[in-house]
Symmetry: C2
DNA sequence: ACAAAAGTGTTTTAGCTACACCCATGA
DNA sequence: TCATGGGTGTAGCTAAAACACTTTTGT
């Protein structure tokens, strides 16, 4: 055996996006337990080592199921993080020791994007604390998790540009065009005129007008729409460039 | 230690693209040596296990240097392949044994795209045989290398769409607009009218007209152009969608 | 003269932008 | 009646598509 080659553990980490009622992107963080550390600083991205007979995609799906109780989530691998120093912090090494019962010196991780409707019930079998955090209020996290989140933002933007339909994974089943607009603006950071956005969106055949309209708003009530994935797939528009 | 977690080797594999004089995309394959196997079936993607103190990007750069002698190549990580069965073929296990002097049962790999001018001199310090293969004539390869190549094609297309300038990595310093058109067509598989393509390309300020024109062609000689990366960066056009 | 491709110009089409206008609702 | 946002219509601009036309060179 050649000792200079890496022989390591591999994990997956998931950046789970949600869109809250104040029009902010949020991500899911979980609590980790390390002795003698203030609770505040112990948030992390949900993740896990992968099993010896497991593919990374399967591991990511398992992490999402253990995290939320949801079986089929929209997931996308986006980058492998393998800086040799990414797991060299003493607290991180200590935590890996208690979590995985082993002395681990190096670990590489494969990062995934995941999308979740923020009103979906989170039913975690693994974590006692799972919380949404607005993207601009994410605390300092262990390992390179802050860097992973930063890069995930660029990635979700690209993803939406290549496949507009993923945006509906973050919205409720029925939504107003204003909600869609706010979400689009939060992700793409492009400024589009909302009137033109409205016109464009409502011209798409896969955006279905519903009977229902908003209640108790102090202005003209907006109509609800829904997304029809079948019609979208048939004509898979490139969309809103 | 929990034996159910993966503890594995990690490699990088590079899909190196070139564009030949018959307007075909090519990729670089190397020869591997396995006892009792016909030479023909022993091509593979260039790659290597990563070292214990090495990041994956560094490993990919090292592989490219050992492969070509070129220090700075345009490289892009695109996917981690980790199917538990990807290294279960007996020949592959045997080869890993002789190459890395170790019994390896599982290995995950991080795949990279690389771009190379096909007329660049290949000066490999590691491989005795390094050859270009037209993309539609790639033989059956070990591991999941054929699958990696298939996915790399989708990836290079996306890459060109998000950053048009990478196309010039595959062309000589001076090129005709026809050459650029042929390459663009080979990658994107979109059909654009060459006249309009010509007009559009020559309108870009980062495409610089040269004095020189083609010699000895049996029709009107085309002008040579060159790409100016500085001007491109200043105005980084989104480009040809 | 002809073939073949370079290179330019012109017309049409489609999509985006800006903005005006009317509608519905609560306060 | 006013403020706020929903929703529609239209005119103008610009980029892209279609295609005709001229130029250059070798045979």
């Amino acid at each position: 055996m050649n000792p200079e080659f890496i022989h390591t553990y591999v994990s997956v980490d998931c950046v789970v996006f949600g869109f809250d009622y104040e029009n902010r992107l949020n991500i899911l963080l979980v609590q980790r337990h390390v002795e003698n550390m203030p609770v505040d600083s112990q948030k992390k991205l949900p993740g896990s080592l992968i099993f010896s007979d497991e593919d990374v995609d399967d591991a990511a799906n398992r992490v999402m199921y253990e995290l939320t109780g949801i079986k089929k989530m929209v997931l996308k691998q986006f980058k492998c993080f393998a800086d040799p120093a990414r797991a060299s912090n003493q607290n991180d090494i200590k935590w890996m020791g208690t979590e995985y019962k082993h002395n681990i010196d190096r670990i590489i991780t494969v990062a995934y994007l995941a999308l979740c409707k923020i009103d979906h019930k989170i039913n975690s079998s693994k974590y006692d604390t799972v919380d949404w955090h607005p993207i601009d209020k994410v605390p300092q996290l262990p390992f390179d998790h802050n860097q992973i989140i930063n890069e995930s933002l660029i990635e979700i933007r690209k993803w939406m540009e290549t496949d507009f339909s993923i945006i509906f994974e973050l919205l409720p089943k029925k939504f107003t065009i204003r909600m869609l607009y706010q979400l689009y603006s939060a992700v793409s950071e492009k400024k589009i005129d909302i009137k033109n956005f409205h016109k464009k969106i409502s011209s798409f055949n896969y955006i279905i007008q519903m009977e229902e309209i908003e209640q108790n708003v102090s202005h003209r009530a907006a109509r609800y729409y829904r997304f029809d994935p079948k019609i979208y797939k048939k004509t898979h528009n490139k969309l809103i460039k």
